[in-house]
């Protein structure tokens, strides 16, 4: 069964350092997303990406965040200068169809710990 894969599974970094989280969406999917989940809290939307550009972003997704699809298969989330409050599980997700019935498939997440 096709799946969304994410690396690394866990990253520990110092405050102020840059972090890149990587995702390989399902191959025939066209819409890509990043969500995050602070421990014990709800899953929050960060950004959606389609046709090599951001479709929508939340207020969480400030100038410290960027996304890129550098090579047609990987989808990356970069946090330029990490803060303590960026510690969370980051989930990549992808969807084939734009329609409302298109299922969103999530990866297993990358846990980011900022010290």
């Amino acid at each position: 069964e096709p799946e969304v894969t994410q690396t690394p599974s866990h990253q520990v970094t110092q405050m102020g350092q840059e972090v890149i989280l990587r995702c390989v969406p399902i191959s025939n999917h066209l819409y890509f997303y990043w969500y995050r989940q602070i421990l014990g809290q709800k899953v929050e939307f960060l950004v959606s990406f389609y046709n090599n550009e951001i479709s929508e972003k939340s207020e969480i997704f400030d100038d410290q965040f960027s996304v890129e699809r550098p090579d047609g298969s990987n989808f990356t989330l970069k946090i330029r200068s990490t803060k303590l409050e960026d510690s969370a599980m980051y989930f990549c997700a992808s969807r084939r169809d734009r329609g409302i019935s298109g299922e969103l498939f999530f990866g297993e997440g990358s846990r980011l710990t900022v010290l």
Binding site: Y33, K42, V43, E103
Partner: protein, 114 residues
């Protein structure tokens, strides 16, 4: 207006019981309501979803009831099993200019005891 309110925060039932999780929304532009199941250390996985043109949808032991006028929907798990122990999230989305982002509820931790 973008929030989805979910209750209860946690729930313990006996094996065979019928846990019910409730969600409410405000944004009338929402037109797709999925439920996600999440096991510890895993990403959310789609369980079942409903559109507002029907009042109920059943897939196996899982049923969504939808009340459009009240802007509420709920998940019922029939004959619950210990393997159903997980966190359940309701969510909602609508067609926007972007990419149909999901707005999640706060989650319900379900424990099914033997």
């Amino acid at each position: 207006q973008q929030q989805v309110k979910q209750s209860p925060q946690s729930l313990i039932v006996q094996k065979g019981g019928i846990p019910i999780i409730n969600c409410a929304y405000e944004n009338t532009a929402f037109d797709y309501f999925p439920w996600y199941q999440q096991f510890p250390g895993k990403g959310p996985a789609l369980l079942i979803a409903i559109r507002p043109d029907v009042s109920e949808k059943k897939e196996g032991r899982f049923t969504i009831s939808f009340n459009k006028s009240a802007k509420q929907f709920s998940l019922h798990i029939m004959d619950s099993q210990p393997g159903d122990s997980a966190t359940y999230f309701c969510a909602a989305s609508g067609v926007t200019g972007g990419g149909n982002k999901l707005t999640f509820g706060t989650g319900t931790q379900l424990k099914v005891e033997l």
